[in-house]
Amino acid sequence: MTASATRVAFPANWPLRIGWLLLAVYVVWATSQLDVTWTRFVEGIANAQKFLSRMFPPNFEPEKMQMIVKGLAESVQIAVIATVVGIALSLPIGLMAARNLMPAWVVWPARALIAVCRSFHEVVIAIIFVKAVGFGAIAGIGALVVGSIGFISKLFAEAIEEISPKQVEAVRASGAGFFSVLTYGVLPQVFSRFLGFASYQFDSNLRHSTMIGIVGAGGIGGSLFSAFQRFDYDFVCAILISIIALIILAEVVSSYVRALFNDNLALLDFFRNRRAARLSREKAAAMVAS
């Protein structure tokens, strides 16, 4: 009985409490620094109302439509090329950065390269590329390739570091060489996750590619920016709606591609209830196994 009086099940964590308190204080202080006040917010609402009312109805006139389609097509091209090239480069870089497969003298240069690629936002890299190679799509492609390398290589390296060493051990024990160990012991374990990263990266490259046009690196962003500058808000609205439609379409396609590879889903299953289809397949597999 005496022991229970001195033992505490949930001891107070004072450093953590102080940490939360400091965060709250900082938010309040930063708010006061940046002129974030209620009156300023109310003034802003009135302005937003005026702006929004000028956006509707969106302007989808044929000649505007032509500009949108041309811009979007260029954005899609930039995104596809940048994703394919970026991933092709990320595979070896990510592999070299995996500490469980590579010696330290390979890992650290690869990690340094990834860190440099990750340091800047795509728009910042796009500005650098526009300055270096001039206006146009090639600057956009370059910028997004660099961004893709930073993101995919890092995630790929982490995925490789989390694989089960037992499966690799078995492949090594058969006398397989390094590349066979990779294709038989490592890749099968990371492939589905890698596909997830790749489709996510395509998604995000598509969004970035609509934006880098603002700094002159090609794509729909250029039209969007000049429409803003002309106060051509109904055209801005049309462009925004088109971008949303494109992103949703890409999301649907990429989730289908993932499902196709990960779960061997048939096309019909996808349009039916995917969850129900997966459950019934798992049940069947469990019955076979038992």
Partner: protein, 256 residues
């Protein structure tokens, strides 16, 4: 030269230290015959797995020799090591199948030492290998599961694939590290039977780490007792008495 001589292993003064100054294997001297099944028994943590993994160099020994067919396996590296590994099959406690590959792909993993990485990647294996893989899977009773992914199989089925993969190497010796420890008693016996039959037919000697002494006595022609990183018994199953078991495992309350 007959097979039983050419497939024997001589281990000399083998030590392994994971941490400097803390040996797990303390100077093992051991002759393992080139035929039949040799069981290594002993308590957990005594270095059985380490010993067996030193033979195919999944673990690098600290010092000593492992002589096999005129080569010192402990000294090999690079291509020579891979070529030695091709001749040594291995069956693992947790099967170690590549989960997302099919049963067929897992079995053909046994040929990776002979097929170029590019051809292996494209799944271009010699027809002879593929025929043999089908035959082996039929022999272990998994002919229906050829194109199923390994992660859908039960433990017993997985270990059968593991055995087929090892035999697929056409090995000259078969190592088995606790091949039955993750299985129920009935399946354990079945797995030992399959392994003994397949290796026996091909004159492949087996070295098996095993916890179940009764199972070892039933299947093995030779038993080696390890305790605290040393060999404390080396003889036939009939020679293994309770006195020896006490020495190997310590205590006697667990003996029936």
């Amino acid at each position: 030269m007959n097979a039983s001589v050419s497939r024997s292993i001589q281990i000399r003064a083998l030590t392994k230290e994971y941490k400097k100054g803390v040996p797990v294997l303390k100077g093992i001297d051991l002759d393992i015959p080139g035929d039949g099944i040799t069981a290594i028994i002993g308590p957990s943590g005594t270095g059985k797995s380490t010993l067996i993994r030193c033979i195919n160099r999944l673990i690098d020994p600290t010092s000593g020799q492992i002589l096999f067919q005129g080569q010192d396996l402990a000294q090999l590296s690079g291509v020579a090591l891979r070529e030695a590994r091709r001749r040594i099959g291995m069956v693992f406690q947790e099967y170690n199948l590549v989960e997302r590959l099919t049963v067929m792909e897992n079995v053909l993993t046994g040929r990776l030492g002979y097929v170029s990485a590019f051809n292996a990647w494209l799944r271009r294996f010699p027809k002879q290998d593929i025929d043999e893989a089908f035959a082996l899977l039929d022999a272990v009773g998994l002919g229906e599961f050829v194109n199923q992914r390994a992660d859908g199989l039960s433990g017993g089925q997985r270990q059968r694939v593991g055995i087929a993969r090892a035999i697929m190497q056409r090995p000259e010796i078969l190592l088995a590290d606790e091949p039955t420890s993750s299985l129920d008693p009935k399946t354990s016996v079945e797995i030992m039977e399959i392994m003994a039959a397949m290796a026996g037919k091909r004159n492949i000697p087996i070295i098996v780490n095993i916890h179940n002494v009764a199972l070892a006595k039933r299947f093995c022609q030779r038993m080696i007792g390890m305790s605290d990183g040393k060999i404390v018994f080396n003889g036939t199953p009939a020679e293994l008495t309770d006195t020896h078991l006490k020495e190997i495992y310590g205590g006697e309350d667990w003996l029936e």
